[in-house]
Amino acid sequence: MSHDHDHTEPPSDIALRVKALESLLIEKGLVDPAALDEIIDNYEHRVGPRNGAHVVAKAWVDQDFKQRLLEDATGAVASLGYSGRQGEHLQVVENTPGLHNLVVCTLCSCYPWTVLGLPPAWYKSAPYRSRAVSEPRAVLEEFGTQLPQDVTIRVWDSTSEMRYLVLPIRPTGTEDWTEEQLQKLVTRNSMIGVELARVPGELESQPQGNN
Protein backbone atom coordinates (compact mmCIF):
# COMPACT_ATOMS: atom_id res chain seq x y z
CA MET A 1 0.00 0.00 0.00
CA SER A 2 1.86 3.07 -1.15
CA HIS A 3 0.52 6.24 0.40
CA ASP A 4 -0.52 7.78 -2.88
CA HIS A 5 -2.71 4.88 -3.95
CA ASP A 6 -5.92 6.76 -3.35
CA HIS A 7 -4.93 9.35 -5.93
CA THR A 8 -4.13 6.85 -8.64
CA GLU A 9 -6.23 3.76 -8.04
CA PRO A 10 -9.99 3.38 -8.05
CA PRO A 11 -12.07 3.12 -5.93
CA SER A 12 -10.95 6.26 -4.14
CA ASP A 13 -13.56 6.70 -1.47
CA ILE A 14 -12.89 4.99 1.85
CA ALA A 15 -16.45 3.68 2.12
CA LEU A 16 -16.11 1.99 -1.27
CA ARG A 17 -12.69 0.60 -0.43
CA VAL A 18 -13.95 -0.92 2.83
CA LYS A 19 -16.94 -2.40 1.03
CA ALA A 20 -14.66 -3.91 -1.60
CA LEU A 21 -12.38 -5.35 1.09
CA GLU A 22 -15.33 -6.90 2.94
CA SER A 23 -16.69 -8.50 -0.26
CA LEU A 24 -13.26 -9.83 -1.12
CA LEU A 25 -12.68 -11.40 2.31
CA ILE A 26 -16.13 -13.00 2.35
CA GLU A 27 -15.74 -14.29 -1.20
CA LYS A 28 -12.34 -15.74 -0.28
CA GLY A 29 -13.86 -17.43 2.74
CA LEU A 30 -11.53 -15.56 5.11
CA VAL A 31 -14.36 -13.91 7.02
CA ASP A 32 -17.73 -15.38 7.98
CA PRO A 33 -20.32 -12.59 7.53
CA ALA A 34 -22.32 -13.83 10.53
CA ALA A 35 -19.18 -13.66 12.70
CA LEU A 36 -18.49 -10.14 11.44
CA ASP A 37 -22.00 -9.01 12.37
CA GLU A 38 -21.66 -10.66 15.78
CA ILE A 39 -18.44 -8.74 16.53
CA ILE A 40 -19.99 -5.40 15.54
CA ASP A 41 -23.20 -6.07 17.45
CA ASN A 42 -21.27 -6.97 20.59
CA TYR A 43 -19.34 -3.70 20.71
CA GLU A 44 -22.16 -1.51 19.44
CA HIS A 45 -24.91 -2.83 21.70
CA ARG A 46 -23.69 -5.08 24.51
CA VAL A 47 -20.40 -3.73 25.85
CA GLY A 48 -20.36 -0.11 27.01
CA PRO A 49 -19.76 2.34 29.85
CA ARG A 50 -22.80 1.15 31.81
CA ASN A 51 -20.59 -1.81 32.79
CA GLY A 52 -18.06 0.58 34.27
CA ALA A 53 -20.80 2.60 35.99
CA HIS A 54 -21.97 -0.62 37.66
CA VAL A 55 -18.41 -1.27 38.90
CA VAL A 56 -17.97 2.27 40.23
CA ALA A 57 -21.37 2.52 41.94
CA LYS A 58 -20.80 -0.85 43.63
CA ALA A 59 -17.40 0.35 44.88
CA TRP A 60 -19.09 3.45 46.31
CA VAL A 61 -21.55 1.45 48.41
CA ASP A 62 -19.56 -1.71 49.18
CA GLN A 63 -16.23 -1.21 51.00
CA ASP A 64 -15.17 -4.86 50.64
CA PHE A 65 -15.76 -4.75 46.91
CA LYS A 66 -13.86 -1.48 46.64
CA GLN A 67 -10.90 -2.99 48.47
CA ARG A 68 -10.86 -5.98 46.13
CA LEU A 69 -11.23 -3.66 43.15
CA LEU A 70 -8.17 -1.64 44.12
CA GLU A 71 -6.11 -4.78 44.83
CA ASP A 72 -7.22 -6.98 41.94
CA ALA A 73 -9.42 -5.07 39.52
CA THR A 74 -9.46 -7.83 36.90
CA GLY A 75 -10.86 -10.35 39.40
CA ALA A 76 -13.29 -7.94 41.06
CA VAL A 77 -14.68 -6.76 37.71
CA ALA A 78 -14.96 -10.36 36.47
CA SER A 79 -17.04 -11.18 39.56
CA LEU A 80 -19.67 -8.77 38.14
CA GLY A 81 -19.58 -10.60 34.81
CA TYR A 82 -17.31 -8.30 32.82
CA SER A 83 -14.22 -9.87 31.29
CA GLY A 84 -12.55 -10.49 27.96
CA ARG A 85 -10.73 -8.66 25.23
CA GLN A 86 -9.02 -5.37 26.15
CA GLY A 87 -9.81 -5.97 29.81
CA GLU A 88 -7.44 -8.85 30.53
CA HIS A 89 -5.33 -6.83 32.99
CA LEU A 90 -7.26 -4.08 34.71
CA GLN A 91 -6.02 -1.52 37.20
CA VAL A 92 -8.43 0.80 38.98
CA VAL A 93 -7.01 4.14 40.10
CA GLU A 94 -8.88 6.09 42.78
CA ASN A 95 -9.48 9.81 42.82
CA THR A 96 -9.16 11.52 46.21
CA PRO A 97 -9.53 15.16 47.27
CA GLY A 98 -5.79 15.65 46.65
CA LEU A 99 -5.25 13.43 43.59
CA HIS A 100 -7.00 13.29 40.23
CA ASN A 101 -6.32 10.52 37.70
CA LEU A 102 -6.52 10.85 33.92
CA VAL A 103 -6.08 8.07 31.35
CA VAL A 104 -4.63 8.32 27.84
CA CYS A 105 -2.86 6.16 25.27
CA THR A 106 -0.31 8.33 23.47
CA LEU A 107 0.85 5.55 21.09
CA CYS A 108 -2.52 4.24 19.88
CA SER A 109 -5.93 3.92 21.53
CA CYS A 110 -5.65 1.41 24.42
CA TYR A 111 -8.83 1.54 26.47
CA PRO A 112 -10.63 -0.83 28.88
CA TRP A 113 -13.24 -2.22 26.45
CA THR A 114 -14.82 -4.62 28.95
CA VAL A 115 -15.95 -1.80 31.24
CA LEU A 116 -16.17 1.21 28.91
CA GLY A 117 -16.84 -0.22 25.43
CA LEU A 118 -15.06 1.35 22.47
CA PRO A 119 -13.35 4.70 23.03
CA PRO A 120 -14.92 7.98 21.90
CA ALA A 121 -13.44 9.70 18.84
CA TRP A 122 -11.69 12.41 20.86
CA TYR A 123 -9.83 9.80 22.96
CA LYS A 124 -8.28 8.42 19.75
CA SER A 125 -7.53 11.85 18.28
CA ALA A 126 -4.09 13.42 17.91
CA PRO A 127 -4.93 16.49 20.04
CA TYR A 128 -5.90 14.42 23.10
CA ARG A 129 -3.10 11.88 22.71
CA SER A 130 -0.46 14.57 22.34
CA ARG A 131 -1.61 16.97 25.05
CA ALA A 132 -2.96 14.80 27.88
CA VAL A 133 0.59 14.05 29.08
CA SER A 134 2.13 17.50 28.58
CA GLU A 135 -0.69 19.84 29.62
CA PRO A 136 -3.35 17.82 31.46
CA ARG A 137 -4.77 20.82 33.27
CA ALA A 138 -5.50 22.62 30.00
CA VAL A 139 -7.01 19.41 28.60
CA LEU A 140 -9.32 19.09 31.61
CA GLU A 141 -10.42 22.69 31.15
CA GLU A 142 -11.49 21.89 27.59
CA PHE A 143 -13.91 19.41 29.13
CA GLY A 144 -15.10 22.08 31.56
CA THR A 145 -13.26 20.47 34.47
CA GLN A 146 -11.42 22.87 36.75
CA LEU A 147 -9.44 21.49 39.67
CA PRO A 148 -7.79 23.48 42.47
CA GLN A 149 -4.07 24.10 41.87
CA ASP A 150 -3.10 21.99 44.89
CA VAL A 151 -4.73 18.87 43.44
CA THR A 152 -2.10 16.63 41.84
CA ILE A 153 -3.04 15.40 38.38
CA ARG A 154 -1.70 11.93 37.69
CA VAL A 155 -1.82 10.91 34.03
CA TRP A 156 -1.69 7.21 33.11
CA ASP A 157 -0.25 6.56 29.64
CA SER A 158 -1.47 3.06 28.64
CA THR A 159 1.59 1.75 26.84
CA SER A 160 1.21 -1.89 27.93
CA GLU A 161 -1.73 -4.32 28.04
CA MET A 162 -2.66 -2.96 31.48
CA ARG A 163 -5.95 -1.09 31.17
CA TYR A 164 -6.78 1.76 33.54
CA LEU A 165 -10.18 2.76 34.92
CA VAL A 166 -10.65 5.83 37.11
CA LEU A 167 -12.73 5.49 40.27
CA PRO A 168 -14.27 8.97 40.63
CA ILE A 169 -15.07 10.58 43.96
CA ARG A 170 -18.60 9.84 45.16
CA PRO A 171 -20.56 13.10 44.95
CA THR A 172 -21.71 14.65 48.20
CA GLY A 173 -25.40 14.58 48.96
CA THR A 174 -25.75 10.97 47.85
CA GLU A 175 -25.31 9.31 51.23
CA ASP A 176 -28.72 7.60 51.17
CA TRP A 177 -28.66 6.74 47.44
CA THR A 178 -28.88 3.14 46.25
CA GLU A 179 -26.33 1.54 43.95
CA GLU A 180 -28.81 1.76 41.06
CA GLN A 181 -29.37 5.47 41.64
CA LEU A 182 -25.64 6.13 41.92
CA GLN A 183 -24.95 4.47 38.56
CA LYS A 184 -26.72 7.41 36.87
CA LEU A 185 -24.05 9.77 38.20
CA VAL A 186 -21.17 7.80 36.71
CA THR A 187 -20.37 9.00 33.21
CA ARG A 188 -17.96 7.49 30.74
CA ASN A 189 -15.88 10.65 30.86
CA SER A 190 -15.59 10.48 34.66
CA MET A 191 -14.10 6.98 34.35
CA ILE A 192 -11.51 8.23 31.81
CA GLY A 193 -10.83 11.12 34.18
CA VAL A 194 -11.61 14.11 31.97
CA GLU A 195 -14.63 14.97 34.10
CA LEU A 196 -15.90 14.43 37.63
CA ALA A 197 -18.93 12.31 38.43
CA ARG A 198 -22.22 14.15 38.06
CA VAL A 199 -23.74 15.76 41.11
CA PRO A 200 -27.37 15.06 42.06
CA GLY A 201 -28.63 18.40 40.71
CA GLU A 202 -27.29 17.65 37.21
CA LEU A 203 -29.50 14.62 36.77
CA GLU A 204 -32.75 16.50 36.22
CA SER A 205 -31.23 19.01 33.84
CA GLN A 206 -29.31 16.62 31.58
CA PRO A 207 -30.54 13.77 29.44
CA GLN A 208 -29.22 10.33 30.26
CA GLY A 209 -27.01 9.15 27.46
CA ASN A 210 -24.08 7.04 28.41
CA ASN A 211 -24.89 4.08 26.30
Partner: protein, 219 residues
Protein backbone atom coordinates in the same frame (compact mmCIF):
# COMPACT_ATOMS: atom_id res chain seq x y z
CA UNK B 1 9.94 3.77 15.67
CA UNK B 2 9.17 7.41 16.31
CA UNK B 3 6.53 7.65 13.60
CA UNK B 4 3.37 9.69 13.28
CA UNK B 5 1.75 7.60 16.01
CA UNK B 6 4.23 8.57 18.75
CA UNK B 7 2.23 11.62 19.79
CA UNK B 8 2.96 12.26 23.48
CA UNK B 9 3.95 15.92 23.93
CA UNK B 10 3.72 16.83 20.23
CA UNK B 11 2.49 20.37 19.69
CA UNK B 12 0.33 22.26 17.25
CA UNK B 13 -2.33 19.58 16.83
CA UNK B 14 -5.15 21.84 17.92
CA UNK B 15 -8.02 21.70 20.43
CA UNK B 16 -9.74 18.45 21.39
CA UNK B 17 -13.28 19.62 20.60
CA UNK B 18 -15.02 16.58 22.14
CA UNK B 19 -18.47 15.52 20.99
CA UNK B 20 -20.88 15.56 23.97
CA UNK B 21 -20.94 12.14 25.63
CA UNK B 22 -24.71 11.81 25.44
CA UNK B 23 -24.73 12.44 21.68
CA UNK B 24 -21.76 10.42 20.43
CA UNK B 25 -22.56 7.20 18.55
CA UNK B 26 -20.22 4.19 18.81
CA UNK B 27 -19.55 4.44 15.06
CA UNK B 28 -19.90 7.57 12.96
CA UNK B 29 -20.59 5.83 9.65
CA UNK B 30 -21.34 2.41 8.21
CA UNK B 31 -17.81 1.94 6.84
CA UNK B 32 -16.31 2.53 10.31
CA UNK B 33 -18.58 -0.18 11.68
CA UNK B 34 -17.48 -2.57 8.92
CA UNK B 35 -13.70 -1.92 9.12
CA UNK B 36 -13.82 -2.39 12.89
CA UNK B 37 -15.50 -5.78 12.43
CA UNK B 38 -13.23 -6.75 9.52
CA UNK B 39 -10.10 -5.94 11.54
CA UNK B 40 -11.19 -8.05 14.51
CA UNK B 41 -12.46 -10.90 12.35
CA UNK B 42 -9.24 -10.98 10.30
CA UNK B 43 -7.23 -10.91 13.53
CA UNK B 44 -9.09 -14.03 14.68
CA UNK B 45 -7.46 -15.96 11.83
CA UNK B 46 -4.43 -16.03 14.13
CA UNK B 47 -1.91 -14.94 11.51
CA UNK B 48 -0.61 -11.93 13.45
CA UNK B 49 -0.50 -10.64 17.03
CA UNK B 50 -1.52 -7.31 18.58
CA UNK B 51 1.96 -5.77 18.28
CA UNK B 52 2.22 -6.73 14.62
CA UNK B 53 -1.20 -5.20 14.15
CA UNK B 54 -0.12 -1.95 15.85
CA UNK B 55 3.14 -1.88 13.88
CA UNK B 56 1.22 -2.23 10.61
CA UNK B 57 -0.65 0.99 11.41
CA UNK B 58 2.52 2.74 12.60
CA UNK B 59 4.49 1.98 9.41
CA UNK B 60 2.96 4.79 7.40
CA UNK B 61 4.25 8.14 6.28
CA UNK B 62 3.64 10.37 9.33
CA UNK B 63 1.72 12.85 7.16
CA UNK B 64 -0.65 10.05 6.11
CA UNK B 65 -1.03 8.73 9.66
CA UNK B 66 -2.00 12.18 10.93
CA UNK B 67 -4.21 13.11 7.98
CA UNK B 68 -6.13 9.84 8.08
CA UNK B 69 -9.05 9.42 10.42
CA UNK B 70 -8.70 6.75 13.09
CA UNK B 71 -10.49 4.02 11.17
CA UNK B 72 -8.77 4.94 7.91
CA UNK B 73 -5.57 3.95 9.72
CA UNK B 74 -7.24 0.67 10.67
CA UNK B 75 -8.05 0.09 7.00
CA UNK B 76 -4.42 0.75 6.04
CA UNK B 77 -3.21 -1.56 8.80
CA UNK B 78 -5.42 -4.54 8.07
CA UNK B 79 -4.75 -4.32 4.31
CA UNK B 80 -1.01 -4.37 4.99
CA UNK B 81 -1.35 -7.41 7.26
CA UNK B 82 -3.53 -9.31 4.77
CA UNK B 83 -1.09 -8.54 1.92
CA UNK B 84 2.09 -9.29 3.87
CA UNK B 85 0.70 -12.58 5.11
CA UNK B 86 -0.27 -13.59 1.57
CA UNK B 87 -3.99 -13.83 2.35
CA UNK B 88 -4.89 -11.40 -0.42
CA UNK B 89 -3.00 -9.95 -3.39
CA UNK B 90 -2.58 -6.36 -4.57
CA UNK B 91 -4.65 -7.20 -7.64
CA UNK B 92 -7.47 -8.58 -5.56
CA UNK B 93 -7.46 -5.55 -3.30
CA UNK B 94 -7.56 -3.28 -6.34
CA UNK B 95 -10.39 -5.14 -8.05
CA UNK B 96 -12.29 -6.34 -4.99
CA UNK B 97 -12.70 -9.79 -6.51
CA UNK B 98 -10.92 -13.10 -6.00
CA UNK B 99 -8.25 -13.90 -8.57
CA UNK B 100 -6.19 -16.36 -6.58
CA UNK B 101 -7.49 -19.26 -4.51
CA UNK B 102 -6.79 -19.38 -0.79
CA UNK B 103 -3.82 -21.67 -0.30
CA UNK B 104 -3.70 -21.99 3.45
CA UNK B 105 -6.01 -24.07 5.58
CA UNK B 106 -7.15 -21.45 8.00
CA UNK B 107 -9.73 -21.93 10.71
CA UNK B 108 -12.24 -19.17 10.04
CA UNK B 109 -14.21 -18.34 13.22
CA UNK B 110 -17.99 -18.72 13.10
CA UNK B 111 -20.58 -16.61 14.91
CA UNK B 112 -20.46 -19.12 17.79
CA UNK B 113 -16.66 -18.90 18.01
CA UNK B 114 -16.71 -15.12 18.23
CA UNK B 115 -18.32 -14.87 21.65
CA UNK B 116 -15.83 -17.36 23.06
CA UNK B 117 -12.85 -15.54 21.54
CA UNK B 118 -13.99 -12.10 22.74
CA UNK B 119 -14.76 -13.38 26.24
CA UNK B 120 -11.45 -15.16 26.69
CA UNK B 121 -9.34 -12.24 25.40
CA UNK B 122 -5.57 -12.52 25.12
CA UNK B 123 -3.81 -12.29 28.49
CA UNK B 124 -0.18 -11.20 28.23
CA UNK B 125 1.02 -12.03 31.73
CA UNK B 126 3.91 -14.54 31.86
CA UNK B 127 5.70 -16.38 34.65
CA UNK B 128 9.36 -15.35 34.71
CA UNK B 129 12.25 -17.19 36.31
CA UNK B 130 14.37 -14.11 36.89
CA UNK B 131 13.40 -11.78 39.76
CA UNK B 132 12.55 -8.16 38.96
CA UNK B 133 15.63 -5.94 38.73
CA UNK B 134 13.81 -2.91 40.20
CA UNK B 135 11.64 -2.28 43.26
CA UNK B 136 9.02 0.40 43.91
CA UNK B 137 10.83 3.63 44.85
CA UNK B 138 13.90 2.95 42.66
CA UNK B 139 15.04 5.77 40.39
CA UNK B 140 15.40 4.68 36.77
CA UNK B 141 16.38 6.28 33.50
CA UNK B 142 14.65 5.28 30.25
CA UNK B 143 17.19 4.16 27.66
CA UNK B 144 17.41 6.02 24.39
CA UNK B 145 16.17 3.66 21.70
CA UNK B 146 16.19 5.06 18.19
CA UNK B 147 14.84 1.94 16.53
CA UNK B 148 13.18 1.30 13.19
CA UNK B 149 11.20 -1.45 14.86
CA UNK B 150 8.12 -1.45 17.04
CA UNK B 151 8.55 -0.28 20.62
CA UNK B 152 6.24 0.86 23.40
CA UNK B 153 8.74 3.28 24.91
CA UNK B 154 7.43 6.63 23.65
CA UNK B 155 9.94 9.25 22.55
CA UNK B 156 8.87 11.71 25.25
CA UNK B 157 10.12 9.54 28.14
CA UNK B 158 13.35 8.30 26.53
CA UNK B 159 16.37 9.62 28.42
CA UNK B 160 14.21 10.86 31.32
CA UNK B 161 14.44 9.87 34.99
CA UNK B 162 11.44 8.50 36.83
CA UNK B 163 10.53 6.37 39.82
CA UNK B 164 9.24 2.80 39.87
CA UNK B 165 5.67 3.03 41.17
CA UNK B 166 4.43 -0.54 40.63
CA UNK B 167 5.62 -3.92 39.42
CA UNK B 168 2.99 -5.49 37.16
CA UNK B 169 4.75 -8.86 36.91
CA UNK B 170 6.06 -10.45 33.72
CA UNK B 171 4.37 -9.51 30.44
CA UNK B 172 4.90 -10.24 26.76
CA UNK B 173 7.63 -7.91 25.46
CA UNK B 174 6.25 -5.97 22.45
CA UNK B 175 9.64 -5.31 20.81
CA UNK B 176 10.14 -9.08 20.45
CA UNK B 177 6.47 -10.00 19.98
CA UNK B 178 6.33 -7.88 16.83
CA UNK B 179 8.97 -10.24 15.34
CA UNK B 180 6.88 -13.25 16.31
CA UNK B 181 9.10 -14.06 19.30
CA UNK B 182 7.26 -14.75 22.54
CA UNK B 183 9.44 -13.28 25.27
CA UNK B 184 8.42 -12.19 28.76
CA UNK B 185 9.95 -9.24 30.61
CA UNK B 186 9.16 -7.54 33.90
CA UNK B 187 6.74 -4.66 33.45
CA UNK B 188 6.66 -1.61 35.70
CA UNK B 189 4.54 1.50 36.12
CA UNK B 190 7.12 4.30 36.16
CA UNK B 191 6.23 7.76 37.45
CA UNK B 192 7.68 10.99 36.07
CA UNK B 193 7.15 14.51 37.36
CA UNK B 194 6.02 16.85 34.62
CA UNK B 195 9.11 18.94 35.41
CA UNK B 196 11.37 16.01 34.46
CA UNK B 197 9.50 15.50 31.20
CA UNK B 198 8.73 19.02 30.05
CA UNK B 199 10.99 21.33 32.02
CA UNK B 200 8.27 23.07 33.94
CA UNK B 201 6.71 21.82 37.12
CA UNK B 202 4.35 24.40 38.43
CA UNK B 203 1.18 22.71 37.24
CA UNK B 204 1.48 19.98 39.87
CA UNK B 205 1.11 16.98 37.57
CA UNK B 206 2.86 13.71 36.87
CA UNK B 207 2.78 10.96 34.27
CA UNK B 208 2.77 7.25 35.05
CA UNK B 209 3.63 4.99 32.15
CA UNK B 210 4.13 1.24 31.78
CA UNK B 211 7.67 0.30 30.73
CA UNK B 212 9.38 -3.08 30.35
CA UNK B 213 12.67 -3.84 32.11
CA UNK B 214 14.84 -3.74 28.94
CA UNK B 215 13.78 -0.10 28.48
CA UNK B 216 15.19 0.88 31.88
CA UNK B 217 18.54 1.42 33.66
CA UNK B 218 19.22 2.31 37.27
CA UNK B 219 19.57 6.09 37.63
Amino acid sequence: MQGGHDLGGKQGLGPIDPEPESEEPVFHSEWERRIFGITLAAGMLGQWNIDQSRFARERQHPADYLRNSYYENWYEGVCKLLLENGLISETELLNGTVSEPVVSELRVPSREDVEKILNSGGPTQMELESPPKFQPGDQVRVNRNYTNGHTRAPAYVQGCIGEIAMHHGGHVFPDANVKGQLQGEHLYAVRFSSKNLWGYGNDNSEVTIDLWEPYLAKA
